[in-house]
Symmetry: none
Subunit: 206 residues, 4 copies
DNA sequence: AATGAATGAGCCTTCATTCAT
DNA sequence: GATGAATGAAGGCTCATTCAT
């Protein structure tokens, strides 16, 4: 029952923090939602901030970036797969990923002490994988500015399509990132990058 | 003197809301920073929420997106200019744009009633301008999915480079969006898009 | 009315802290007793600790050690007067002095950061005055160990008679430090010291 | 093992109560320090207050005042020995005596029902012994005010030198009651009293 | 005899808000 | 228009205590 309660508290906290943000979230609501006593947050986590950090850590731990099926594929195929996966994971409605995003938005707009370290853990694997792929495709070293710019372009686009709900709703209401649309977007992002890389890679000038 | 105080309150409120978010911002800090009495927020605006809404309204009203110098330029040139301008505005350290962004981040992560409408007002002009340009370059109608995808790709990239401070710090610490780097990034975004559009436009297949 | 409330809070706080000690005292009781809102402690003093320190400072400020009538008197007479005064001030029933003592007992048994500094301010004047007198009587310099020992003996005896209520009640119930008894005690303390000093002073050996 | 745990709890409680006072002491810290479960205090003692009372009872029971080596000595020598012993016991840094004192300070500043009785038990033996000695030296009956005054003077001085840490630190920082200093102080207290008694005893006037 | 999860009360503090002036 | 004292509600946290095991 103990672990169960702790688990319920974590789940409730994730929800409430995602919905209201750290400041607006109240310990009492979290406990109520978890059907637990107020004092248990102190008992299990220490205080509200420690709970928040635990939530962030858990959410990060559920790393969505370990895309399978990359082995043996060509770099071009790898790029397509990883971008498709990111979009897919990111747009799982109402699931952990949604909460994940909202929590990250909070962290982005009000970076806390641990934000950078958290991002380092979360993003680094995808980032490096993308750099390897782009490097392989372009023929440039992974440390080259061109490679980095391209990778950030990819990240930026994925983030935008996956996470800017309100913007999309305002500017392109039909885009709801359905499975079909997701496929189209992924192909657009990966495809345009591949076109660009092909055109600008040193090899292109042979 | 009355309008002056009201103005000071608004300015202070914009700052504090941007720095702390709605919930974490306190009426007292706003008043202190505005060098005004605590009771004046209620006196002038009714309550904290009303003040927040007024701040949002003002921030939106100060539309920073009207890029000058676009007249007469070729669509390609226009694209370059508008993207350069967006990046520039967005990276103005302590200016209105910075506050603007942080407020928007809040709105994004906790969309309120007015968020969509606010975005509609803020983003629409840039969005439509970009569509016109991309349409002109690609030869496709502005309503075409391809055009929209490209425009969102542009927005996504700009947003990413301009606003994901913590991500950048974690993944690419050297990228500080200095004037020089801004130029490089703008050229990268606009350039890659132009390459892509050239390659995929119907005209390319003639 | 403002200063009035602040004053009431301070008075109530002095009482409650003296009665219960810092830890056991509750902000709520202080406010209730002062007929004031709970939030006013924060408003006027910051927090409970700051209020406590203010109370200590006030209590100390009411310095009971400035004995009048010392001018022109012989050192021997001065000693008698100052000891009498200390006993008198210290035994004013139920007055500020009583609270003062109880607060000091708290400070002594659980010295806080400011205790030493507080004592420095409170005790130093009496201490130095006593050293001057003893020095004059004994013919030894005020820095001599003998002088210091004697002065501390005096302080210790006064403190004991004035403040060890429970001990007295247990061991010598009749000693209630009435005006008459006070006179006797003062004469005992000062008298015995004078005898001792006379016997041990260098001059005695001439 | 049961008694062992109970014992550990008592020892830990004595320490914590002495260090923090009743109110500021927490059941959890006591249990942690005793390496015991939180619930055991209630199990063994009923509640926190009952534990405190038990601690007081135990501390009182361990009477430290039975000075040895008094038999056969002259009254003058006896006085010197008992005062030396009191000072020594009182200044044992981490021993029972130190805890004892701090607990007593608490009881003094917030006399509880049992305080007087406790003191009666603790102090009475020393008190009566001192009266006997002073009576023998002075030639006055042990019930004489003069004897009582002298005995209280002795107690007051010992208490002051032994226990007023903060005062000493403020007024006479060099006085740390080292073994050497303790000897000096004991000689000062006993010596000055003997001088005084010799001078004022009826025998002196023969 | 001992554990550790769970409880409920209460504490200090903070906040937005109001009111008399 | 503006002030500053005052309010009441609520928030986070801590504590002694209990209960099932």
């Amino acid at each position: 029952m103990a672990d169960d309660t702790r688990e319920r508290l974590l789940r409730a906290a994730t929800e409430v923090f995602a919905e209201k943000g750290y400041a607006a979230a109240t310990v009492r609501e979290i406990c109520t939602r978890a059907d637990a006593n107020v004092a248990l947050i102190n008992y299990y986590f220490g205080d509200k901030l420690a709970l928040y950090e635990q939530v962030l850590r858990d959410v990060v731990a559920a790393d969505p970036a370990r895309a399978p099926g990359l082995l043996g594929a060509s770099p071009e195929e790898g790029l397509r797969v990883i971008i498709g996966t990111m979009l897919e994971k990111a747009s799982e409605a109402r699931g952990n990923s949604s909460l994940r995003y909202r929590l990250m938005m909070h962290e982005f707009s009000h970076p806390s002490e641990g934000t950078v370290r958290m991002l380092e853990i979360t993003m680094r694997p995808v980032y490096d994988k993308l750099r390897t792929l782009v490097s392989a495709i372009s023929g440039l070293p992974a440390t080259h500015d061109h490679v980095r710019l391209c990778v950030h372009s990819l990240l930026g686009q994925v983030a935008h399509f996956a996470h800017s709900g309100p913007i999309m709703e305002a500017l392109w209401p039909e885009m709801k990132l359905t499975a079909e649309q997701r496929k189209m977007v992924a192909e657009h992002i990966a495809g345009s990058m591949l076109v660009y890389l092909r055109e600008t890679s040193p090899a292109a000038h042979l």
